[in-house]
Symmetry: C2
Subunit: 532 residues, 2 copies
Amino acid sequence: MTLQRLKHYGWGREGEGLSPEEEAFVLDRHRRRFAVGHFEERVPPALADLRLRRPRLAPPASVATFCVSESYDRAAHTYGKSFLDYARGLAGDYASAPDVVAYPRDETEVKAVLDWAGGAQATVTPFGGGSSVVGGVEPVCDDARHKGAISLDLRHLDRVLEIDRASRAARVQAGVFGPALEEQLKPHGLTLRHFPQSFTYSTLGGWIATRSGGHFASLYTHIDEFVESLRVITPAGVVATRRLPGSGAGPNPDRLFIGSEGILGVITEAWMRLQDRPRFRAGSAVHFADFFTAARAVRALAQSGLNPANCRILDPREAYNTGAGDGSSAVMVLAFESGDHPVDPWMRRALECCADHGGRPEAAEGVDAHREGAAGLWRTAFIRMPYARELLIRRAIISDTFETAITWDRFEAFHDQVKAATEAGIRAATGRAGEVTCRFTHVYPDGPAPYFSFHALGRHGELQAQWRVIKQAASDAVIAGGGTITHHHAVGREHRPWYDAERPPLFAAALAAAKLALDPQGLLNPGVLIDA
Amino acid sequence: MTLQRLKHYGWGREGEGLSPEEEAFVLDRHRRRFAVGHFEERVPPALADLRLRRPRLAPPASVATFCVSESYDRAAHTYGKSFLDYARGLAGDYASAPDVVAYPRDETEVKAVLDWAGGAQATVTPFGGGSSVVGGVEPVCDDARHKGAISLDLRHLDRVLEIDRASRAARVQAGVFGPALEEQLKPHGLTLRHFPQSFTYSTLGGWIATRSGGHFASLYTHIDEFVESLRVITPAGVVATRRLPGSGAGPNPDRLFIGSEGILGVITEAWMRLQDRPRFRAGSAVHFADFFTAARAVRALAQSGLNPANCRILDPREAYNTGAGDGSSAVMVLAFESGDHPVDPWMRRALECCADHGGRPEAAEGVDAHREGAAGLWRTAFIRMPYARELLIRRAIISDTFETAITWDRFEAFHDQVKAATEAGIRAATGRAGEVTCRFTHVYPDGPAPYFSFHALGRHGELQAQWRVIKQAASDAVIAGGGTITHHHAVGREHRPWYDAERPPLFAAALAAAKLALDPQGLLNPGVLIDA
């Protein structure tokens, strides 16, 4: 199957988007929310109308066969998918377009790019699938220090190289997209079962570099635990960690690169821990009187040792907005799965925990309940949601999300403070009320990962400034309340001020020292995570 | 209860040791093994007979109230509990005794020690409980670079400072020993349930610094996952990480210090994730035809998602040596536990997995089976074993253990190669056959953590050299076969050659750069993990 090329602006591939019915549903919700009949609409410039500056770099023979400076490639590698990215794209601002996009076909060519960049004093930004929502893939280039910017796209490193069925592990090239990875694993009865919302348009290397959050609501929340070993190409040479099920030999070397967001090296391969394909399932949507009551049930489940595969809760408005509820109750999407044994005893005990907090399961409880009823409606909305964003910003609707994690003792007050601060930010930025809703994406015995969505009606020409006011209000509250600036969206450049407040200063010093050892010229993704 | 002081030589506190019956059992096994009627016995020198060099450091007023240079303190802080430590102690070699032992009572005093050490150019070695079996707590001092050595003992930082019942977490000072920690948690219905073999004589800070392996055979194998946040005093200042249930904000800062073995800073406090005390249990010993068959059952269990609390196997000889078997079968010690729900469905399915591989459960299956039958016998032997070592070396018996981890695809060949290499090492070193046995201490979906014990009859005066020949043969085989040089014993100084081979050279460069940022004078535990 030949795939359409990725959009240079917007989510997914060319030709994809919401259906007319989905679009009508989403716009209707927003019209009611803001009590307006009509949105002023602006249209992003066509590719042919973009004015990109003349490339400052000319690829030498060593890399010329896989380097491109066409407008499409440069435009499609200028941004990720953050609100600021969409706003700048809508305004036709492509000032930070890379001079060159490199599409290496093997590790030798990755090395050749780094060598060339070192000689040319060019920055190198690993692109992954480009789904960053935090400014993590923008090929920023400080003219005082660098003479050009290269975006590094590993899409050709897309193969599963080796399968170890006994250990349930595979050696995989880092540029593979989610669907192509699962397709190659399927004949072996294996699966990674790591399904971030961006699954279709993000890569294994990107997941590892950003500590992506996946399918499992508990236990294996981030990609971290699935990494058995790594190969990373740094300007100083190759880092290849040993394939081990576990070790206590010094600080874990993989953990330095997991979450390093492209500043230490380029992840080219990983041995990944896999799962058997699930054969047994049980699931249900469970309704609760309110969000905090649902959260108490989640806490009981998270501390039960049952380790549900899914255990996500939506507040009543979030349930309503996604079509998963009527707005009168909080909804939990609960599921167990196993490749080994029936999970009914697990499900029964989980529903007892829910009942202790007044949780009422939907009738649809059963094997495929996760695809039906409220759970199924939410699941569809979850997958389709990213397509709405390019539609909404054209109408000056500021619709965005942020996520965090917090210990249980502080959760309720924290939730209320963050929500109130974000609502106040919306009023301050736009002069009218918006909406802030919350769900849990992942849970731990010691606390949840709350995920907030907000909607505000902005004004064209002011969208970036308005978004910044709201983002600052929300992020300040997250940090002041003891949360993390990101549970699984990464830091990039947009979260830097709050990451700097969250992270111990001496850890930053240690990380900067490590970077200097691996990337002495400071070529890799400058400005992400640390100044360098 | 007033505790006796720790022995300056040997395991545990003064007055403790094997009972006459235990001693007779152990010596009888060794007489039969080596077919000798009598062992030549040497006795370690009494404390009063040790000749320690005159201290090179004089504590200034800022630290004098909690610093000691008495012979007992210096001798008791010279070594950990490795074979080489015992051999040197037996020979009366205390050349690396610290000049001063510091017993700070709070964090301010820890800082005062580091400040003094910086000015005096003295090394600082965090002692933990002193149970290191890898040369990790010896206060080594390179006379060309340093003017003295300080052993830092945090035993007075022994309190649980704060409990968060909702999040099931506690803020704990790092110098607390295992029993005192559990005693303080018990009134709250909580437990860390981290029970390394050294539990009674090791500290929370030591567990974290060495990535200690604990009670749980699967899932929560190392202390790593229980660390919610850390406070670390470095020569450059304090590192305090944020208390979070999970985060994706850059490389995990805690993971840089977990396993740092005292080279980056002194861990003074941690927020630890706790468990409810188990109310439901099911367990049994299960017998298998041989070790590899038992291992295949372990693999099925490790990949089942059942996550047993205990799932350890002993090869037939190991079972025989510990009194847990008659030598005709391999033994699995299997157990589930929960503070939330009956675990019978888990146990039933686990026994099915065992039956698939011919596993026959003992009659004693049931709630307290882990304290009865073969499982109970092995458990007692496990806890008492360390007391035997000081007894055996007096008789020139080289009895030691080493442990590793390996993926399942390579396990069987790896086991045979490592065992054969160690047996060959014993013959080369001692001129006669010894014995090498194996068990699994922890298991992962992608591989086991095999733990080898070996027994050789050496000669007084040559014990260190003989041990080195065996250790080298075993460790070379571990590294050549793709294993890790340590799953949970840490690296220290004794594992350095093989750790250096295992770890990517550029990770060492990054770690050294991080150390330089935090400990610019190289005061902290020099020679452990990296040269510095």
